[in-house]
């Protein structure tokens, strides 16, 4: 916590104040677009056909019309961002309960999502470090593949550079969240759990594995207005269960 206050939050505030919002938005869009292949892969692993198709569309549109992902054109084309990560995949596959953790750099998470993040990280390294040079080396003379591979490598490097700045933007918002709470740790945990549970519920409800497919592609975009996760949705977070039960029959 002290490290956040003395180092991270001032840096985040400086980033927010110095860098224009449009630039920060484009940095975020760029990093998000680079992550879309992983979202797609996990949507496939979860048998969420609609979400996978939407993600392919988003990546194609934003990588081209959106100038390499700097602009999120796809959302306005009714291709909202989809959820999809390996922690979510593990949940769909049956790894439901997982202890909550707060870790340096990574922030609030849980064991399942930490495993997911680790797997994705371990997958990304060989992908960018070996696959791209291999493509370039194997390309026939005169082919444009080496140039494409070089471009892809440059993009991956740019993504590596840009990612920490998106973390700074998150930290700036974390500081604001802390400023509004009377017990920050409890507030953070509750908010993180609720938000994550909504993503997990969405995955289960739209996955072919769990037999609830048919509502795929709903997305979690900002322009989506989703029914509350309770009392309409189950399962819910522990906190929401408690509150929902408390509501029943209470009038005053």
């Amino acid at each position: 916590m002290r490290f956040n206050h003395s180092v991270i939050y001032p840096a985040a505030k400086a980033y927010h104040n110095i860098v224009p919002e449009q630039v920060r938005t484009s940095v975020g869009n760029f990093v998000t677009n680079l992550n879309e292949p992983f979202v797609f892969a996990n949507d496939v692993l979860q048998l969420r056909v609609g979400a996978a198709a939407t993600t392919v569309g988003r990546f194609a549109v934003n990588s081209t019309v959106g100038v390499g992902g700097l602009f999120d054109v796809a959302t306005n084309q009714k291709l909202p961002q989809q959820s999809g990560d390996f922690g979510q995949t593990l949940y769909v596959w049956g790894m439901r309960n997982s202890p909550y953790l707060v870790l340096p750099v990574i922030g609030p998470t849980n064991v399942r999502d930490l495993i997911g993040t680790t797997v994705e990280f371990a997958t990304a390294i060989p992908l960018f470090a070996t696959a791209i040079p291999a493509v370039a080396a194997a390309a026939p003379a005169g082919s444009s593949l080496p140039h494409i591979a070089t471009a892809a490598n440059n993009v991956s490097v740019a993504g590596s550079v840009a990612t920490p700045f998106t973390k700074l933007d998150q930290a700036d918002q974390m500081a604001e969240l802390e400023d509004s709470s009377i017990d920050f740790y409890s507030m953070l945990r509750s908010v993180v759990n609720q938000k994550r549970q909504a993503e997990l519920d969405e995955a289960v409800q739209t996955s072919g594995w769990t037999g609830h497919a048919g509502n795929a592609g709903g997305g979690t975009g900002a322009d989506q207005i989703i029914a509350p996760s309770w009392p309409v949705r189950v399962p819910q977070t522990k906190e929401q269960d408690l509150v929902a039960n408390a509501f029943q029959g209470v009038k005053e």
């Binding site: 919002e21 920060r24 938005t25 940095v27 975020g28 869009n29 990093v31 998000t32 677009n33 992550n35 999120d72 961002q81 959820s83 990560d85 922030g107 998106t166 933007d169 998150q170 700036d172 918002q173 974390m174 604001e176 969240l177 400023d179 509004s180 709470s181 009377i182 017990d183 409890s186 507030m187 945990r189 509750s190 908010v191 609720q194 938000k195 549970q197 909504a198 993503e199 979690t220 900002a222 322009d223 989506q224 207005i225 989703i226 029914a227 509350p228 996760s229 009392p231 309409v232 977070t237 906190e239 929401q240 408690l242 509150v243 408390a246 509501f247 029943q248 209470v250 009038k251 005053e252």
Partner: protein, 221 residues
Amino acid sequence: MWPTRSKASKSNAPSFRFWRRVAACLGLALTLLLPRALHSEGGDPAAANVSVLYSALLETMKQAKQLGLKGRYDKLAPVLAKSYDLPLMSRIAVGARWDGLSAPQRQSIVNAFTRMTTATYASRFDGFSGEALEVQQTVDQPNGDKLVKTRIVQSDGKVIALNYLVRNTGNGWRVIDVYLNGTISELASRRAEFGAILKSGGPDALVASLNKQGDKLLKGS
């Protein structure tokens, strides 16, 4: 209940976007989003309640500088008291421990929570930059409550969803919870905070924490 600022930064990275929305709607900074146009469902009392709240917020925002912080607090206090069922929200946020509290302790918690909530609004709704807040539709809930779906459209076109859970309390339809992006419950978050403080310090510590936050907001810090 979820105060928002007007210039939340944008990103599509899941956690990045998430924190932007949380920060924007937890009332943490700068100016709040203001209603520019209201489109409530005619005749629905739950939607009408939210529309009245938004109208009052809009008016306050447009007069923010003239009113000052205390003026905004005084103007919004009766509106919030009528729009929200703050005593019920206090009770639910406290949870099972409520039954073990004395009447003065309960009243102290309700007063402190009401003051902090009003101070949050007065602090955040300090200007207007062209935002629109739209009441969109009402969805009946199985237990008789109504979910009023609204959205905030920022001046640059960005959208934040805010859904209100409204109950007929006997004294009219009152908001009892707010959902950020349709999923994050204000009351569930507050319940988590209240529970932690009650566990470690009891009701006196909770009242002290609520009053401390109210003081901080009313000092403009």
